[in-house]
Symmetry: C2
Subunit: 378 residues, 2 copies
C-alpha cells in the first residue's frame, strides 16, 4: 500500500513525521508547541476529499496499523481490519493513523526533545488528556488539508478518542465507531493503572523520569506494569482455555520460583517484549490521560450533553467477555447518544478473548464495521 | 478471652509459639524440622475434647483472629465471627488459629532462622504447599492433645486449608466450612500472583531474598504486589461505590502524578501499610503454595475422589460479587462433594464487597456459620 506524502514531511527514521507550529492549547492550560506528529497514511485522498478515515490507536499501539512496524518487524496491529478487501480499504479510503500526543513512536512525548532545553522532556512534559490527543490529530488533519472525516474509528483508548472527536469538532466528523471502550475510567480502571505507575516509579532506574541520558531505563517496573495491565486485557475464560494450569515444558512442578506454569511464562514474555518497544514515561502519561477521561465531566456532568452539537452517526461495539470496559459501559454511551438525539447503533459481540478481542480474529466485528461504513457511503 | 496454655509453650514476643521436632514430610520431598508454630487459642478445651474449632487464615492473615494484633495494634482480623456471643464462641468452643507454615508471624518461614545455618532461611526455605500448611497444623493439634476437630473453618486461602483438612485427615474432622474459596487456582489467579512475585523480585533490595541482615527490605516491590492483589479482593461495583472518580481532598485534577483520585490514595496506603507487617519472601512462598493448589490433581484428577474417605459435613459459602474465587468455583467443590457422597450445604451470599466480604460486616455469613455449627452440636 502506497503512502500519500504531504509536501513538507520529513523522515526521522520511524516513518513519517511532521513538526507543526501549534501552539496546541492543552487542557492543563499549557500552550504547547511545536507539536511533532508521527503518522502513517494508506490509500489516496479522493478528489472531493470525502474518503478520509481516521484511526485512533490504543494505549500501547502506534501509527503502524496496517504496515510492518519498523521497530518490532511485526505486521501492523490492525491488519485484520485495515487492508485491501478489508472493511477499511486503501482502495476506497484515505486512511490516517497518528501516534498519539504523549506517545513514544515519533510524536511529541516525554521521550522527545524539549526544544527550549535541548534535552528530553521527561516528567517536565505537560500532563495531557484524551481531548488533547484529539486536538493534536485535528492539527495533523489541518496540515494534510483534510477538513471532514468520513469516520473516526478506535478500540479501547482509541475508542475514547473516537467518541471525543465529534464532541470537540462536531462539524468535521460524519461518523464514529467506538469499540470495546468507555466514556469514563472507573475506579477499578484507575486502580489497575495506578499499580502500573507505582511499579514504574518504584524502579530505582526511573530516577524521576530522567533516564534517557544513559539509556538505563526502568524496564523492570515497566514490565510489571505491562503484566498487570495485560491480565485485564484477557478474559478469565480465555486465560483458562489458553493456559489453564498447564506446566511450562516439564512434567511436574519444580517447587521453585521459575515460571512453572505456561501463564507465568506468557506474562513474563509480555512484560519483557513490551519494554523493548515502549517508553516508561509515556506509559505514565498515557495511563494518566485515560484515568482523567470522563467525557460527561467535560460537559457539566451530562454525557448526553456532550453529543448535543454533533450530527455524526455512531456505532458502538462491545465484547461480552471484556471486563476492562464491559458492555455496561457501552450501554451508558448508547443511552447518552439516544438521549442526545444522535443516531446510534449498538452491538455486543460474543468472543472468548475479553478486551483484546478487537485486535484479534473477529469476523463479526469486521462485518459490523464494514456494514456501518458502507451505509454511510451510500 | 483467656488463652489455654499448653505446658511447654514459650513466648517469643509475638504471642504463643512452640517448637515441634517433626520432621514434617513436605510435598517437595524435604523432611522439615524442627517446625516452629505460632498460634493463639481462645476458650477452653472441654472434658471430652470435643469442642475444638480450627480456624485457618488467609494469605496475609495471622493467628490473631480474635485478639489485638501486637504488631498492628488492630483488633483480630475475624472479630466479627469469633468472640463471645458470635458464631465461634470461646464460651462454647476451644478455638485454635496458627500462623501458617511459611508465614512471618512466628511460624517457620523464610524469615525465620535455619538452625543448621544460624541465619534466616531466605529463599533456601523449602517451597511449601497448602497440604504442608495443613500437616503443620495437625502437628500442632497433636502437641495440644487434640485428636478430633469439630469444625475447621477458613476463608480464601483459609478455605483451601479447610477443604484440604478432611482429605488428608479424614478421621479427625467432623465438619469443614469453606468460605470464598476454590479447589484450585485458575490461570487468572496465578497470573495476578505472578505479577506480585515479579514486582518483589524486580526490587533491587530483594537481593535474591537475602535482605534480612541489614533490614533494607524490598518494600517497594511488596507494596506494588499488595496493590495489585488488593484490587482482586474488591468488586468493581464496590470500588465504584466507595471511591468512584472522587478526587482526593481537592476540587480539581492537578495535572500531575500525585494521588489525584481517592482510589489511588487508598491503594497506595494499602501497599505502604502492608509492608510494615509482612515479609516479602513469605509473600513469595505463600502465593506459590496457592498457585500450586489443585486438590483434584492430588487425587488423580478427581476432585470427588479427594473426598471419598471422609465423613465430614461441608458448608460451602460464596459471595456473588467475588471475582477472585467466584461462585462457579464453589459450585465445582459442591458438585464434587455430592459426587463423592459427602454431606454438603452450599449458599451464595449477596454482598457488594467482593472477595473481602468474608472479613467484613456480613450478618448472613454469621447466620450461616452459626446454624451449621449448632446443627453439628445437637
Amino acid at each position: 500500500m502506497a503512502s500519500n506524502p504531504a509536501p513538507d514531511d520529513s523522515r526521522f527514521g520511524l516513518g513519517r513525521q511532521v513538526r507543526l507550529t501549534g501552539p496546541l492549547r492543552l487542557d492543563c492550560g499549557v500552550a504547547f508547541g511545536p507539536v511533532d506528529i508521527a503518522y502513517e497514511t494508506y490509500g489516496a485522498l479522493n478528489a472531493d476529499r470525502s474518503n478520509v478515515i481516521l484511526i485512533c490507536h490504543a494505549l500501547t499501539g502506534d501509527q503502524y496499523l496496517a504496515s510492518e512496524n519498523p521497530m518490532t518487524k511485526k505486521p501492523g496491529w490492525w491488519w485484520r481490519m485495515v487492508g485491501q478487501g478489508k472493511p477499511v480499504d486503501p482502495d476506497r479510503h484515505f486512511i490516517v493513523c497518528a501516534n498519539i500526543l504523549g506517545g513514544c513512536m515519533g510524536s511529541s512525548g516525554p521521550a522527545s526533545i524539549d526544544p527550549a532545553m535541548g534535552a528530553p522532556w521527561g516528567m517536565r512534559f505537560p500532563v495531557i488528556t484524551i481531548a488533547d490527543m484529539v486536538r493534536a490529530q485535528a492539527l495533523l488533519l489541518d496540515h494534510l488539508g483534510v477538513d471532514r472525516i468520513r469516520a473516526v474509528i478506535g478500540g479501547s483508548m482509541g475508542g475514547m478518542q473516537a467518541l471525543t472527536w465529534p464532541t470537540l469538532f462536531p462539524g468535521r466528523v460524519e461518523s464514529a465507531i467506538v469499540i470495546a471502550s468507555t466514556a469514563r475510567h472507573s475506579a477499578q480502571n484507575i486502580a489497575f493503572h495506578e499499580v502500573g505507575r507505582q511499579a514504574i516509579m518504584a524502579d530505582p532506574r526511573w530516577r524521576g523520569g530522567d533516564y534517557y541520558a544513559d539509556g538505563d531505563v526502568p524496564s523492570s517496573g515497566l514490565a510489571v506494569a505491562r503484566m498487570a495491565a495485560h491480565i485485564t486485557y484477557l478474559s478469565e475464560a480465555g486465560l483458562t482455555e489458553k493456559f489453564g494450569r498447564r506446566l511450562q515444558g516439564r512434567d511436574a512442578k519444580t517447587f521453585g520460583f521459575d515460571a512453572d506454569f505456561q501463564v507465568e511464562s506468557y506474562l513474563r514474555h509480555q512484560g519483557l517484549s513490551f519494554v523493548e518497544r515502549f517508553d516508561a514515561n509515556s506509559y505514565l502519561y498515557i495511563t494518566r490521560a485515560m484515568d482523567y477521561y470522563d467525557l460527561a465531566e467535560d460537559h457539566g456532568g451530562s454525557l448526553a450533553g456532550a453529543f448535543a452539537r454533533t450530527r455524526a452517526r455512531f456505532c458502538v461495539v462491545s465484547f461480552d467477555t471484556d471486563w476492562l470496559y464491559p458492555t455496561t459501559e457501552s450501554r451508558v454511551i448508547v443511552h447518552a447518544l439516544n438521549a442526545g438525539g444522535a443516531e446510534a447503533s449498538f452491538v455486543e459481540l460474543s468472543s472468548p478473548f475479553g478486551h483484546d478481542a478487537f485486535l484479534l480474529e473477529a469476523p463479526e466485528l469486521n462485518r459490523v464495521v464494514d456494514g456501518f461504513l458502507r451505509a454511510g457511503e451510500r
